[in-house]
Amino acid sequence: MTSYLRNPLTFIWALLTAITIASWSIGKGHGSDYHISATITAIVLILAAVKAQFVVRYFMEVRFGPTWLKFVAYGWVIGLLLLLLAAYRATL
């Protein structure tokens, strides 16, 4: 079973969990200090995109996939991130 702990995928999982906790500590908050913050939003969305990219590339094995799939999958992650940031920015 320890072989699974040394599997590269487990390392990716640990990274993903760390990023999750980091983005949660950035994004959490309540009450009077909770206001619109383009910085926090940008960081949180970018970290989410990074996590999604890891899952898509390593867990879904798109790195071994056909070229069209790489375009579509990576394109979705990046495209969605840019659209969300643009929509947020445009209405600030």
Binding site: P8, T20, H30, L47, M60, L69, L80, A87
Partner: protein, 198 residues
């Protein structure tokens, strides 16, 4: 047959330069389409949010971020387990694959339970879908995602059952795994957009 780099390398050998598409091809049609549909919803959310920042910001604070984080980690762990399980299945290590997919199912089953424990107090406190636009978006999108999770758990259940048989289908295990990873990716974005961003 359980060494780590060995399982990764064994998987690599099956891949040709034209690229390897794990699972049945139809599932990728579904995955891509589903990602696009959710994508449309996410962008619409962002646009409608922009028309009423104050309302969305205030409503967001009622969400239970702790459960949100735990749910994120649950899905990530479950995703890892199915990924490891897929590798095990490919190297015909059916016993390990069975256990890994089974563990993924057990961990993943916590998600709907936690979701309900999050929603029931919220709804009892009057935070219903009809309360305002934020909550409508929130319940519709996380509800749609929850349906995907439940469906995914059923599919993994079938994969676990298949792995018990003498000649399990690697393609089927891969198909279930890919679907489950999609569910995970969607939640990663949902968590950031509803729970964390401002």
């Amino acid at each position: 047959m359980t060494n780590t780099m060995g399982t990764v390398a064994a998987g690599v050998e099956r891949r040709t330069s034209a690229g390897y598409l794990p699972g049945r091809p139809g599932i990728w049609f579904f995955i891509i389409g589903d990602l696009l549909i959710f994508g449309v919803y996410f962008v619409c959310y962002m646009v409608y949010r922009g028309q009423n920042h104050g309302l969305f910001l205030e409503s967001q604070q009622h969400l239970n971020q702790q459960i949100g984080v735990v749910n994120t980690i649950i899905l990530l762990t479950s995703s890892l387990l199915v990924a490891l399980g897929t590798e095990a299945a490919r190297t015909e290590n059916n016993r390990d694959a069975f256990r890994l997919f089974g563990a993924a199912l057990a961990v993943g089953a916590l998600f709907p339970l936690l979701k309900l424990s999050e929603w029931i107090p919220e709804i009892s406190a009057g935070l219903t879908p009809g309360k305002n636009m934020f909550f409508m978006f929130y319940y519709v999108m996380t509800g749609l995602h929850l349906i995907h999770v439940v469906l995914g758990l059923a599919i993994i259940g079938y994969v676990v059952d298949d792995l018990r048989s003498p000649k399990p289908s690697i393609r089927f295990a891969e198909t279930g795994a890919m679907y489950w990873h999609m569910v995970d990716v969607l939640w990663l974005v949902l968590f950031a957009v509803f729970y964390l961003m401002r």
